[in-house]
């Protein structure tokens, strides 16, 4: 492509910038279309509301087995923590001088548990668990926190329906929250 072939591009960008609703054409024609199958394979984002949770289900009891094999060496047999984060307990501690932040006490959204376990755990082999195993481990961790009964089965619908205890305690960033004076003498 010669230089003069490129000259219309800045004009095209100006038009696009002024009229976002008119962005039917790409300005540079760089890249290719992503197919639905490619997107489905890579899009592992689970929304806080449970959007994009996959089919499948898992029981608390199966989750206990998977947890013992895959998770307990870092998080402790009962999620009490070790090399990995503590996962259990801490309710009622957030307003004290010794807050214990766990899935049960701190996490605002239950589907985030599925998202994180699937994408990043276990640390030595992330994205190796089946969706069923991830549902099961999520169910077990929620059960350890008293948020699911021991005979429960977790799936997309039931996981999204769980209201986490700390859901309403997150606030937006109010900074600047400290107003220091720039005094130069006798401060």
């Amino acid at each position: 492509m010669r230089w003069h072939d490129l000259r219309p591009i800045p004009l095209a960008i100006m038009v696009l910038a002024c009229a976002p609703q008119a962005m039917a054409q790409s300005a540079y024609g760089i890249g290719r279309a992503a197919t639905p199958a490619e997107i489905a394979g890579w899009n592992i984002d689970i929304g806080g509301d449970g959007s994009n949770l996959p089919p499948g289900s898992g029981t608390v009891s199966h989750g206990r087995e998977v947890f013992e094999q895959q998770c307990a060496s870092c998080h402790g047999d009962k999620g009490e923590g070790g090399i990995g984060d503590r996962l259990v307990g801490g309710e009622g501690t957030l307003a004290t001088t010794k807050p214990v932040r766990t899935v049960g006490s701190y996490w605002p959204y239950a589907p985030t548990l599925f998202d994180y376990i699937r994408r990043a755990m276990p640390q030595n082999a992330p994205q190796s668990l089946s969706n069923e195993d991830v549902y099961a481990v999520s169910a077990y961790v929620l059960n350890l926190n008293g948020l699911l009964p021991g005979d429960a089965t977790l799936d997309a619908k039931t996981l999204a329906a769980i209201k986490m205890p700390n859901r309403d305690r997150f606030v937006s960033d109010p900074r600047p929250d400290v107003k220091n004076k720039a005094c130069v003498r006798d401060c």
Partner: protein, 427 residues
Amino acid sequence: MAESRDNRVSTSRRRFLRESAAAGGAVIAGGLAGGAAMAQSAAPKADNLPPNIPEWMKAPGDPMGSQLYGTPSPFEKNVVKNIPKDLKQYLSASGRTPLQELDGIITPNGLFYERHHGGVPTIDPAEHRLMLHGLVDRPMIFTMEDIRRFPSQSRIHFIECSGNPVYTKPYGKTASDLVGLLSCAEWTGVSLKLVLQEAGLKPGAKWVVAEGADAAAMTRSIPIEKCLDDAMLVYSQNGERLRPQQGYPVRLLLPGFEGNMNIKWLRRLHVTAEPAYSREETSKYTDPMPDGTAREFTFYMEAKSIITRPSGGQHLAEPGFHQITGIAWSGHGKISRVDVSVDDGKSWQEAELQEPVLTRALTRFRLPWRWDGKPAVIQSRAIDETGYVQPTLAELLAVRGDNYYYHNNAIWPWRIAADGEVTNALA
């Protein structure tokens, strides 16, 4: 010929090993790096001092090509990343820039601070892909060659970890221990706005969920306003391709936003109406207040500064003239002023700012000072173009309480003892 050159090189290596051992060269990394580096010239050999001709002038030096990439002088070998030796594990961990050893505003690539959540992946750029999907007219996939075809730009910006430092003791000994999760580079890449326009944003696009190709599949949600402002897809740093530790082959750059949002090894941008509420942005990078609430989406790094010379771990050899110098920065824009106090905060003087003063970049400040040899406490205070004044640690704690974790931008004083030793005045 080859044999004699080998001899010469090995002679020089022996000489270096001998001298660095004598200078305490066994001390590596950690909080002692500053002191060790300053002590290297402690015992000069008289043979190399005037009026004698130094030995390095009496024979040719190393031949061209003996270092095809290049490394610093062997006498600077203690200027390395500051990596704690007592970490629980090294896959999700951080290493600090030795700020007190550096001049100017640019961090050399090998010393840029690191923070990883699932180790450092080795990624073949020919096999790396960036997917852009969600609320766009045209979901797309880009190769690295595609990304480099877009019109490029280069800009100088800092990146700082939001936990730099925490609010609780023990505080660090050196500037690096305290705020070494901070670095600044010239970044080259593509305006993210341009790439988003290529796909066409749909109405309702409010957030972009960015995901890394590391083993943590690190995920953060970014407001669309930032993505359409100064965000970049970056592939080069200080002129060369990104180091693996900095996200090779491509990372996100969000000038002024907390470090972990600048997703490294970027593989996917998901345009959404809502944030993902990922584990990182709910359970991790949030700030607990004393009443049990927690602040979320605390993106900006507020104005801050630190004196790097003289600073903790260093030593003033004698009273008399010393230049005070350090760095200041703000996630909200340019630094407009830096004040320095040499009397424990009783009075302040305006420091000279070195040009260029760039938005969301480190700014070097300097103040000439005559030390009278008496104990002193020195500190710096940054003011940015929004008028925000860097607060004291006490002022921060009074508002945020003891459970707060990130975004500690407190003024940090250094104590200078009568013998010239410099230590952390709050430790």
